[in-house]
Amino acid sequence: MSYLSLTDADRAEMLTAIGVGSIDELFEQIPPGVRFDRELDVPPALGEAELMRHLEELAAKNVHTGSELSFVGAGIYDHYVPAVADVVLSRGEFLTAYTPYQPEMSQGTLQAIFEYQTVICELTGMDVSNASGYDGTTVAADACFVAKHVTDRQKVVLAESLNPQVRQVVKTYAPGFGFEVVEVPHHDGVTDPDELGAAAADAAAVFFQQPNFLGCLEDAPALAAAANEAGALSVAHVDLMSLGVLEAPGAYGCAIALGEGQSAGNWPSYGGPHYGFFAARTDYVRRMPGRIVGETLDEEGKRGFVLTLQTREQHIRREKATSNMTTNQTLLALAGLATLSWLGPEGLREVGETCLALSNYARDRIPLEPAFAADSFKEVAFRTPRPAREVIRRAREHGVNPGYALGRDYEGMDDLLLVAVTEKKRVEDIDRLADVLAEVCG
């Protein structure tokens, strides 16, 4: 099978028009020493039906969230993706267009991004949003690059309760920015504002997560204030699905709010593609990474949308750009827009309340000691009487995946199990989890 359209007659006619006898002549500009002179050693071609069967067989080897009652979260969550998200994802025009460089051809994409930016600003309480970054990790690295230029400082402070993969990505990028990375430990699952503030002296940016990776609600306003007082950019890593019930970072003074958008409108998909969102105060708009859409007028005075502030970007600014980003995650972000529009303010609040209610119920119902005293949103860490990995293994023999072993990321937490719920979980699901944990931990 192939997707080529040329017939033999077409090829002959085209070669004649070009004035060559064969396609090989077109490749004579390639020096003989670097021409590839054998067939590619790759698996054979498949027709569509065979291809689909092959992929179905591969997919069937995976144990997915539909085939097991699972309470695994830890950064990627099983929230409901409404069918209206498919309206975006399945329309060929959205799917097969590229970056809207030619606005007259792309008003639909541009307007949708403008709406997405507005929704992200509303949820985070920020002034400006970009059109998306790669994921919840790389937007943190983007924020470091912003902070480097805004503050001219060379240190970044990360709360240890920030998602470990986010911290790892920041550490990977940091040497290129000339950044030192300092991590501030948690105490009983939360970050101490005074300790964070002390570390923030001379820091370009301070990152914390709300709710944090350990499932705890931080005293986010105090953390933001501590960072701001030190003259660092305060950066909150937040969950869009929490922002119907949790305070917006903009309301407690953060400079930048960002995070992983997956929970709002994207499937888990073994880690991607998803979208990272990035929003900031107006002060930083000219240092923002990525695409930004703005409203303007056409020659007849009619409203339209364009990519704007492009002098920040690599295709104009080259080595002085605010980021190297070209391709972003627009399609996934627009699925997020459709999802959040479907929920509306009431629905988003209800999702949040259901998460609060279910995680609170799990805390009471599960016969294990909660590891931390702090309030939770949709994840609770429990202390297990034997290593959490063993508890998980044994619970899965009973058909329930009880959560994530925090020992995978944190030393000294081998006996901590992080249990995640979303609004998709039912009371009886948590009852079943509790019963299984009682059995395997008893």
Binding site: E93, Q111, V306
Partner: protein
């Protein structure tokens, strides 16, 4: 204007303008449980002003926006350097299989064997295409692949105790190259293009030294020309102890025909959304895997996918790794689509590139007399024309040509890039276009060249049939309106003026 036919198409309200207080679509489950009280300081103080619509109007809204968007599914989209090829529907179906779509990325390896097997095969095919042995799938897009490649160079030289601080790029390079150089903490040097469109070897020799970490090069270049001196280029860098980075933006020209590893490149990124048909999605997602020579392999981002007998696993134990560049093991859904595309062709991926090059040369042969051709050679998968003659003789710019093409139902090519060609029109038809669509484009371009002479105002006023006329980009940048101003915002008045 509201009496005009097609007014509805031209006027599409924002989703916030369709909103009515109290209307709703989704009703999430609300179990009969108490909702715990949050401390005041943590509780949302003001509800977010999300749109309030019922489902019918949500669907109509996004359908209206889709109608105002032009994709490859709509028509010919010869956007140079972006490889806007057909995106097979079966790939979308495959990515939505529950075993892929609903697989949690924290799944244990034994529960993700199908996904890991797919990734392992993908790594193998990519390695064969590049002629390099080791692959990371993690980078999220081409530009992140570039940055990853530069981080690999830094780790490689640091491990050898060598201090090298400069990366050389071509003057035809995409803007991402110099931007990545800065983000990676390197200094930038630029090498010129010679009269045949190759790297200027004399200029190059003078710029490569013991502080040079490497070269970043797109080959074929953004001019659509294969660098005829590539073997000598590789020798110059390798003799200086430096590395060569291959920007895979134009890989669609040479799959199965010439391999970057065989050209002498040490590090290669691929754009899965270009060469291997991940849909471009209005800007993304993409995928930017990186392949490297054995000497660079220890520094690849963790995790990579390895095979132990019949089992596959993620290998996190990489002590010399540069670290993680993205969450999890990469954009898996992109891998499903690209793997499906590769498996549809098999070894005939070579035929894919041949058709891409044939289509481009056919267009070039038909258009070379009507427009200026700055480098008179056969092209690879794309070529660059110049509208400078139209500008000189009729005051018509590349932008005017682009806008007028819209009236013919064709997406414009990339314009004003590469920077070394004035009034550049960069045209990439891709392999999936039939000859009829190429002929439509040729006819349109000839008609536009005639119009430039006979009725230039048709071009200056273009486009005529799109939802909006030309937009004021200066206004957008000088008075930025970057979000909807709600009725009760002070900015509402300010923004509307």
């Amino acid at each position: 204007m509201s009496h005009e036919p097609g007014a509805a198409w031209r006027d599409t309200p924002l989703i916030f303008e369709r909103s009515r207080a109290g209307r709703r679509a989704g009703r999430p489950p609300q179990p009969d449980l108490p909702v715990p009280e949050l401390p005041d300081s943590l509780r949302r103080s003001r509800p977010p002003r999300l749109p309030e619509l019922a489902e019918p109007e949500i669907v109509r809204h996004f359908t209206a926006l889709a109608d105002r968007t032009f994709g490859v599914d709509t028509g010919f989209y010869p956007l140079g350097s972006c490889t806007m090829k057909h995106n097979p529907r079966v790939n979308e179906r495959a990515a939505m299989l529950p075993g892929f779509r609903d697989l949690h990325p924290h799944a244990d390896d034994e529960d993700a064997q199908g996904a890991l097997e797919l990734m392992w095969h993908l790594q193998g095919i990519l390695a064969e295409v590049a002629g390099l042995p080791a692959v990371t799938l993690q980078p999220a897009a081409g530009s992140q692949g570039e940055l990853t490649g530069l981080m690999l160079m830094r780790a490689y030289f640091a491990d050898r105790g060598e201090e090298r601080d400069t990366i050389i790029t071509a003057d035809t390079a995409h803007g991402t190259n110099p931007a990545s150089v800065t983000m990676a903490g390197y200094k930038l040097a630029r090498v010129e293009t010679d009269a045949r469109g190759n790297l200027d070897l004399d200029d190059l020799r003078g710029k490569v030294g013991d502080r040079t970490a490497g070269l970043m090069l797109t080959n074929p270049s953004t001019l659509g020309l294969f660098d005829e001196g590539i073997e000598e280029v590789a020798t110059i860098f390798h003799d200086a102890g430096a590395l060569l980075y291959y920007d895979g933006a134009n890989l669609n020209a040479v799959v199965g025909i010439s391999r970057p590893g065989d050209m002498g490149f040490d590090i290669v990124h691929y754009n899965l959304h270009k060469t291997f048909s991940q849909p471009h999605g209005g800007g993304g997602p993409g995928g930017g895997p990186v392949a490297v020579r054995e000497t660079i392999e220890p520094y690849l981002p963790a995790p990579t996918v390895v095979r132990d007998g019949d089992a596959f696993r993620l290998d996190h134990d990489r002590p010399k790794s540069i670290g993680r560049v993205r969450g999890f093991a990469g954009p898996f859904g992109v891998f499903v689509r690209s793997y499906a595309y590769m498996r549809a062709y098999g070894p005939e991926l070579r035929g894919m590139s041949e058709a891409a090059v044939l289509n481009a040369n056919y267009l070039l042969a038909q258009l070379r007399d009507a427009y200026d051709l700055p480098y008179d050679r056969h092209c690879m998968h794309e070529f660059v024309l110049s509208a400078r003659k139209l500008k000189r003789e009729h005051g018509i710019t590349a932008l005017d040509v682009a806008k007028r093409l819209m009236d013919y139902g064709i997406h414009p090519p990339t314009i004003y890039f590469p920077l070394v060609v004035p009034e550049a029109l960069m045209i990439e038809p891709t392999e999936t276009e039939p000859k009829e669509r190429l002929d439509d484009f040729v006819d349109a371009m000839h008609a536009i060249a005639r119009e430039a002479a006979e009725s230039p105002e048709l071009l200056k006023d273009a486009p005529h049939g799109r939802p909006v006329r030309r937009l004021d980009e200066v206004r957008a940048a000088k008075q930025p309106i970057l979000r909807y101003a709600f009725e009760d915002d002070p900015a509402h008045v300010e923004g509307r003026g």
